[in-house]
């Protein structure tokens, strides 16, 4: 292959999006003048010099993103192209508890079906688009301040940052209700590029629970390319639940960047149920003493789906702990990747860092590539990691069947048992039950399709 050909094929995806940039700018109206637009333009400039990652890149070694490059996705700027009703929304949100609700359709805020009224003093629960119009200076304080642009995907998200969920919690506020954010995606006519740009700022001593729920509602292939920035300020507690059940033909890439300050607690829950090609980058910088960071992950894969979870915890200061528990249930010819990196900087003495990654392969053709990466530069630390890949325990299956329970139900009970120590970490009881239900439903659907 000649040098010019190579370059063309590698950057054709980027060129398509750069060509779309000026028409995107035209749709910004007044926002064209906002300080946020400076951030977008800068990102577009960076994007210009980038290529989408290939498997030659160590961070993308097991995840070939070329299926995404087969499509010329159209940036989504309109929510009302699809007909979405309250009944629709109700079937996707988690229920049986009180919550604030932000609804986004194809990545664009859907005010009519959102419910974020009677808010506690000082809290902002709004859309990126609204805030850019109404309070761009506030938004500018945080956007792209925690996440640095380090690949073409997050450059693309930043260049086209248009809408997303923004939660800003003032100091000392205990947020009473969980904040639920639904992203409902339906690519009816075009292959859409949906790019939520989310921001959570948890003030000092605040406590909050956020559920962010990505759902596909049928339609064509779309690409959900997300960046979520989170600041957990001093002594705050942030429980962040991500539930992802995109269409089976959808592409889903998210970068989560959390920055934690002294004595904060950040719990990230990652439930992966959908998507054909999924990549999650979940990164935390522990930038203060006495910080706790917990990552819990559960992924169910089947068919030829591909799910890549990359986590990165950076211990920058002493006396912090991080703990990671990821579990996968993989069937058919699905592929999984788990790459867990822990970096302990020289100053970060008395660090406790644990990582556990387990998967059950239900089929001989399913495959998981797992790579723990511990980089430790301090000398007084406790770090451990463990990985286990196996199949369902035969003796346990025999135990259940010996009580009269048929094989398929015995298996799904064992899968539920395997998944339970992740789901059990969920602190919202009603959510726990509904997650269990999704797990069962997902497994049941498989039985039906097999028959």
């Amino acid at each position: 292959m000649s040098e010019t050909n190579k370059k063309q094929s590698a950057s054709s995806g980027i060129e398509w999006y750069l060509e779309k940039f000026s028409s995107f700018e035209n749709k910004l109206n007044g926002r064209f003048q906002s300080p946020i637009h400076e951030i977008r333009k800068k990102a577009a400039g960076l994007l210009f010099g980038m290529d989408f990652p290939t498997i030659k890149n160590e961070e993308w070694k097991y995840t070939n993103i070329s299926p995404i490059l087969k499509f010329n996705f159209i940036p989504s700027v309109n929510a009302d192209v699809v007909n979405v009703t309250k009944e629709h929304i109700d079937s996707y949100v988690f229920n049986d508890f009180d919550y604030h609700l932000l609804v986004f359709v194809n990545g664009i805020y859907f005010r009519e079906l959102s419910r974020a009224e009677n808010l506690q003093d000082g809290i902002i629960i709004d859309s990126f688009g609204n805030l850019e119009k109404n309070n761009p200076e506030l938004l500018k304080k945080y956007v792209n301040k925690f996440s640095i642009i380090d690949n073409a995907f997050n450059a693309l998200n930043t260049a086209f940052a248009y809408d997303g969920a923004v939660v800003i919690i003032p100091d000392n506020l205990i947020v009473e209700k969980p904040i639920q954010i639904l992203f409902l995606n339906v690519s009816e006519k075009e292959n859409l590029l949906i790019q939520p740009r989310n921001l959570v700022v948890a003030g000092k001593n605040s406590q909050s629970k956020i559920i962010i729920n990505y759902r596909g509602a049928g339609g064509k292939e779309y690409f959900d390319n997300i960046v979520t920035e989170i600041l957990a300020d001093e002594n705050s507690v942030v429980d962040f639940y991500k539930v992802q059940k995109e269409n089976e033909n959808a592409f889903h890439i998210e970068k989560v960047q959390a920055v934690q300050k002294r004595s904060s607690v950040f719990n990230h829950y990652n439930f992966v149920f959908g998507g054909s090609l999924v990549r999650n980058d979940i990164n935390s910088i522990l930038d203060g003493e006495g910080i706790e960071c917990h990552y819990y992950g559960l992924y169910l894969t089947n068919k030829k789906r591909h799910v890549d979870n990359h986590t990165f915890v950076e211990h920058a200061k002493p006396n912090c702990m991080s703990n990671e528990l990821y579990k996968g249930i993989m069937d058919d010819e699905s592929r999984g990747v788990f790459n867990g990196k822990i970096l302990v900087r020289k100053d970060a003495q008395k660090t406790n860092a644990y990582q556990s990654n387990k998967a059950i392969l239900l089929s001989e053709k399913a495959r998981l590539d797992t790579k723990p990466q511990l980089e430790i530069f301090a000398d007084d630390v406790k770090c451990s990691h463990g990985a286990a890949i196996g199949s369902l325990d035969e003796l346990s299956e025999f135990y259940i069947r010996s009580r009269g329970v048929p094989e398929d139900i015995a298996k799904s009970m064992l899968i539920r048992a395997f998944a339970s120590d992740v789901i059990e970490q969920t602190k919202i009881e009603e959510l726990k039950e509904q997650l269990n239900h999704i797990v069962f439903e997902q497994l049941h659907r498989k039985e039906v399709t097999n028959k």
Binding site: E394, I400, R401, S402, G404
Partner: protein, 254 residues
């Protein structure tokens, strides 16, 4: 009820059962005793259908059916119950859900409707009371965080709930203190009637003080080398196993 003829079985290629003959009738309690490694647990597991054990020869007829052709769940539905030596923990599934699922599968097999919630709860209350079990255990996950004694008691609780025709108790007494042993034995005695049968697999005689066997069989190196009445158990307790190790296997005709 149960007829075992010339049963041979392997575990990981090694022959453990080397030709077992045993008949069990309704209303009987049989004790299978023997030193460690004699094949007692293997026999119990083969009867319940554990596929880690490979049957190489012989037959097992249970209530007129060829047991060796049946899946474990079908054996259970037809009335075989194995109380495990090491009960399995199942996180995320409560005892109640587990038992209700099992009970309904068995009822479905007999063409009966699913058990009603009240009927089920009444049954749970009745049976757990018999065993002095804390009702709170019912809503806990199956055996998760249970002590050794609680796990064994839970096996007997399942036995009472599912009410099979043939109960196999695999070393149910191991690891139990005397109070727990009495409770477990009491549960088994409450289960026992003229229409069912019990096979107690045990290393020690002490459980047989509370569950009185009609027959005692000594298993050694994969064969039954001696059979007798309940007094045989006492004799074994007194003398150990050494004195019978040289005996020829017995032909059993009951």
């Amino acid at each position: 009820m149960l007829s075992i003829k010339n049963l041979k079985a392997n575990v990981e290629g090694k022959e453990i059962l080397k030709g077992i003959d045993l008949s069990v009738n309704k209303g009987e309690v049989h004790a299978i005793m023997g030193p460690n490694g004699s094949g007692k647990s293997t026999l119990a597991n083969v009867l319940a259908g554990n596929k880690s054990y490979e049957v190489t020869e012989g037959e097992i007829i249970f209530e007129g059916k060829n047991l060796l052709e049946m899946e474990p769940e079908d054996r259970a539905r037809d009335g075989i119950f194995l109380a495990f030596q090491y009960p399995i923990e199942i996180a995320g599934i409560s005892n109640a859900t587990f038992l209700k699922t099992a009970l309904n599968e068995i009822r479905k097999y007999y063409g009966q409707p699913e058990i009603g919630t009240k009927e089920f709860m009444d049954l749970i209350r009745e049976k757990s009371k018999l065993l002095g079990m804390d009702e709170a255990l019912i809503s806990r996950y199956v055996n998760v965080g249970f002590s050794g004694g609680e796990k064994k008691r839970n096996e007997i609780f399942q036995l009472l709930m599912l009410n099979p025709k043939l109960a196999l108790l695999d070393e149910t007494d191991s690891g139990l203190d005397i109070d727990a042993l009495k409770i477990v034995a009491n549960g088994v005695n409450l289960f026992k009637n003229q229409n069912n049968a019990v096979i107690v697999v045990t290393h020690y005689q002490r459980l047989l003080n509370y569950i009185i066997p009609d027959f005692v069989h000594v298993l050694y190196k994969g064969k039954i080398i001696k059979s007798g009445g309940k007094e045989l158990a006492l004799e074994l307790e007194e003398k150990g196993y050494d004195w019978i190790k040289n005996e020829e296997p017995v032909e059993q005709n009951l």
